[in-house]
């Protein structure tokens, strides 16, 4: 139900102040049954005050900007593992080139080892995707907290950024989940079976 009023929307801080004024006014009244009402309103007022303090405490401090620095650090990890994987691949490619010049069975043995290195180097893709997923979650949380922090300012409540609300998410987005945990992931044989069943 939409209640239309002629008053502009209140900030949390203003609402709290008004509530405190109402309580003060109520206390001056001489009505006998006002006490339970005063107690309830006082409880609500205290609750709003505490909530507001907790929200304001989320504001990044001078040594803070905690979320941004955390995501930066994680993005660095992705870059560093990519660089490391690149170095490993370069070394493996050099070994492969030498292996091709060697006699059997040494050549085959070295090639098998090089293949294992190539396969294992995929770790960078998997860890990169997992970290990127965490970075997105943190960035989303950061946007929500920034919106909450607007309650603490004296200005009008700022409109939410793109991270707020449902903006008509296309259905395909629900399929972009990245690597699954070992508990939930389908194995290659599970997928082969599914494909066979799907015809």
């Amino acid at each position: 139900m939409n209640v239309k009023t002629s008053h502009p929307p209140l900030e949390l801080g203003q609402a709290h102040t008004y509530l405190e004024r109402v309580i003060v006014k109520l206390k001056t009244l001489d009505a006998r049954q006002k006490q339970p009402l005063v107690e309830i309103l006082q409880y609500i007022s205290d609750y709003i005050g505490r909530t507001r303090s907790e929200i304001c405490a989320l504001r990044p401090t001078k040594d803070g900007e905690k979320f941004s620095s955390s995501t930066d650090e994680l993005e660095e990890v992705v870059q560093e593992t990519a660089d490391a994987a690149g170095s490993i691949m370069t070394a493996a490619e050099a070994i492969e080139a030498i292996a091709l010049k060697l006699p059997q069975p040494t050549s085959d043995e070295l090639m098998a080892a090089v293949t294992k290195i190539y396969e294992a180097s995929a770790f960078q893709d998997i860890t990169g995707q997992r970290i990127t997923k965490v970075v997105r979650v943190i960035q989303n949380a950061e946007k929500r907290i920034e919106a909450l922090l607007c309650f603490c300012s004296d200005s009008e409540l700022k409109p939410c950024g793109s991270g707020c609300g449902n903006h008509g998410t296309p259905p395909d987005d629900t399929l972009l989940n990245g690597p699954q945990t070992q508990k939930t992931a389908n194995s290659q044989s599970d997928i082969d079976r599914m494909l066979a069943e799907l015809g």
Binding site: A82, A85, G86, M89, A92, E93, E96, M111, T115, Y118, E119, S121, A122, F123, Q124, D125, I126, G128, Q129, D172, T174, L175, L176, N177, G178, P179, Q180, T184, A185, N186, S187, Q188, D190, I191, M194, L195, L198
Partner: protein, 130 residues
């Protein structure tokens, strides 16, 4: 399986390390003629310029995902018969079903090994030849 030197494959992944892994593993299988792209849009441009015998694509890429690329390929008269293998970390049942509905030829879940890659390539090419 022996591959003709003209057998051309396009590999698509937004992680350059994965492109390098695929290229190396394909070389070991005997496929030397490999083009790469880092997203679906880039790949589609190459697919419409050069003939390819096989598409090996990641799913999770921007601006065009592997699934969108697959749909574009299957909707294109000239490209629709090209075998398409999805190589992805997306291993949920819904993903496999969506890919199958879109016309994927086979599906490899990351991390994978050289033998799985070889087996899936041989499988899709056998189906195409049949």
């Amino acid at each position: 399986m022996n591959f003709d030197k003209n057998f051309r494959v396009i590999i698509i992944d937004d992680y350059t390390t994965m492109l390098r892994i695929l290229r190396n593993l394909l070389r070991q299988i005997g496929i030397e003629n490999v083009e790469d792209a880092t997203n679906g849009t880039d790949a589609l441009g190459k697919l419409r310029t050069l003939p390819f015998n096989l598409i090996i694509s990641d799913w999770n890429m921007q601006p065009m995902t592997g699934l969108d690329l697959l749909r574009e390929v299957r909707a294109d008269e000239k490209l629709k018969a090209t075998p398409f293998i999805m190589v992805t970390a997306e291993s949920k049942t819904d993903n496999v079903i969506a890919a199958k509905k879109a016309g994927v030829s086979n599906y490899i879940v990351k991390p994978f090994n050289a033998e799985t890659l070889r087996a899936k390539i041989e499988s899709v090419l056998a189906v195409k030849a049949a």
